[in-house]
Symmetry: C2
Subunit: 295 residues, 2 copies
């Protein structure tokens, strides 16, 4: 059996199924970030690793500053999905020896500029030889005035929401998106949100993950899903790299949430959470991106 | 200009020279681990990323359990070099789609076994497509009853020490070594150690790094450097992957250190720290491993 046959979700389950953690780990494998117990009562830290690879997540034609930017922005999106605040980051670069120093400097310039914008300290990293370029970004974050929002805590009856619009991400959006950090932090502090994750592999792959983690089902209203200009419903579910927030709230807060929402970012209720026994409704079948099965 | 011409140390300096960090970062780029301020007064966390790549750090013939073991052991060696204790880890895997699931499971088995031995919680990770296999290991650690020992704090007159023996690492040692965690923690708590790092690129590359970081020079006694059977002095300085501790102590503690040392691990004084103006003595020239210049 090889990876193409097995697929990513089953691989992760197979590999990490036997992991047993100590009381220091509040949330291990399976959420957007790991959550570790802090020194103070109730305090917790977030911990995330994420990699981008040449010819998978970017190409030789991608402007290098946007490659560096993307490496950090993706990991920030996972911190956002917990409602957290990024603190410090580590960068590992795999590089062929013939890589031009000019290219690498531009990658770092893009990465550093975004780090400054979000006040992330870049505290170290590593360079190693590799046959193609890849960048692994690690973030350490914390929660400020809120508990981390997990993807495993949605309940039947909750409403389903997304930020922004979905689909048509491959032209520019996957390189230039803004991680929804302020939105995620605000949602975590609101106390209305019951579960949250970021959309990186498309609604079609990520919503079923949230549902599995929460042991629930869902109903999506096709018409309500906000799309980028030119995106079909299938695109919006399947393309991935939206880096928007997918979250659930208590059912009675819809009006308050819309009224108090302080951001220009679009906010849309796209469906609801059903009981586990009910059939999932509204997603096109076979949508969403699998890292080993689709390319 | 490409990487082969520039070399690794100059690349890192070029890329990270402009990084500016907040007060939350106690030690940024340039030591074995980054050091972040903890919540409690005087408390600190360690933060480390490290990658191994197929055909650079292992081959298709390497037993996969030892590949996984090595990925974690290398990062543990960096935690050891600060005198720290590992707490939690993240794993990122880059994998070609045709990789066999059996191979990956063995990699994880080796990694998980070592994690259990050192009580490291594996709390998450990521898998992504890549043209060759690579494993990026991230560790989060803490200090228990000691301050982190840096590589930048050696003083003229200090004695230079190494643990274990050096050289002839490429047959088995680079896959089976034990990270010097207990030794590093003991040394940090002793209060006698003035600077420390781990030997990953060979004494010939790593001692000059310690000297540059501390703004000092050094004298090594060739005869005193402990070697593995069959290793020449050049091998001992040049091969790399020793994963032993290189450290300096106050000059007057040599006898006490030897008497109190509670480990079976060999402990050898190999030289002393000189003033910056004095010429470095005793290392063969052009020794030590550079990731971009030598292969």
């Amino acid at each position: 059996m090889n990876l193409r046959k097995l697929g990513e979700d089953r691989l992760v389950k197979l590999l990490t199924g036997g992991w047993k953690n100590s009381v220091r780990t509040l949330v291990g494998v399976g959420d957007d970030c790991a959550v570790l117990r802090g020194e103070k009562a109730g305090g917790s830290y977030l911990f995330k690793t994420d990699a981008i690879v040449e010819n998978v997540h970017f190409t030789a034609k991608t402007p290098p500053a946007l490659v560096g930017r993307k490496a950090l922005a993706r990991a920030l999106s996972d911190i956002a999905a917990m409602g957290g605040e990024p603190v410090a980051g580590l960068v590992t670069l795999g590089l062929p020896p013939q890589t031009s120093v000019r290219w690498i400097r531009s990658v770092y310039r893009g990465l550093t500029a975004l780090a400054q914008r979000y006040e992330v300290d870049l505290v170290g990293g590593e360079t190693t030889q590799a046959p193609v370029c890849w960048i692994n970004m690690v973030l350490w974050g914390k929660m400020r005035g809120a508990k981390p929002v997990l993807r495993s805590t949605a309940k039947p009856g909750d409403l389903l929401w997304v930020t922004g619009r979905l689909g048509k991400t491959q032209q520019r959006h996957h390189l230039t998106f803004l991680p929804r950090l302020e939105e995620g932090q605000w949602l975590a502090r609101s106390g209305w949100v019951t579960a949250m994750m970021d959309l990186s592999d498309g609604l079609g792959a990520d919503l079923p993950r949230l549902a599995r983690a929460s042991r629930v089902s869902y109903r999506i209203e096709e018409k309500s899903v906000p799309r980028r200009p030119g995106a079909s419903y299938f695109d919006a579910c399947q393309e991935g790299e939206d880096y928007e927030l997918l979250f659930t709230t208590l059912p009675f807060v819809a009006k308050k949430l819309r009224t108090k929402w302080p951001f220009s970012t679009r906010l849309t209720c796209v469906g609801e959470i059903l009981k586990r026994q009910q059939p999932a409704q509204g997603l096109p079948s076979h949508s969403g991106y699998d890292h080993f099965q689709q390319r």
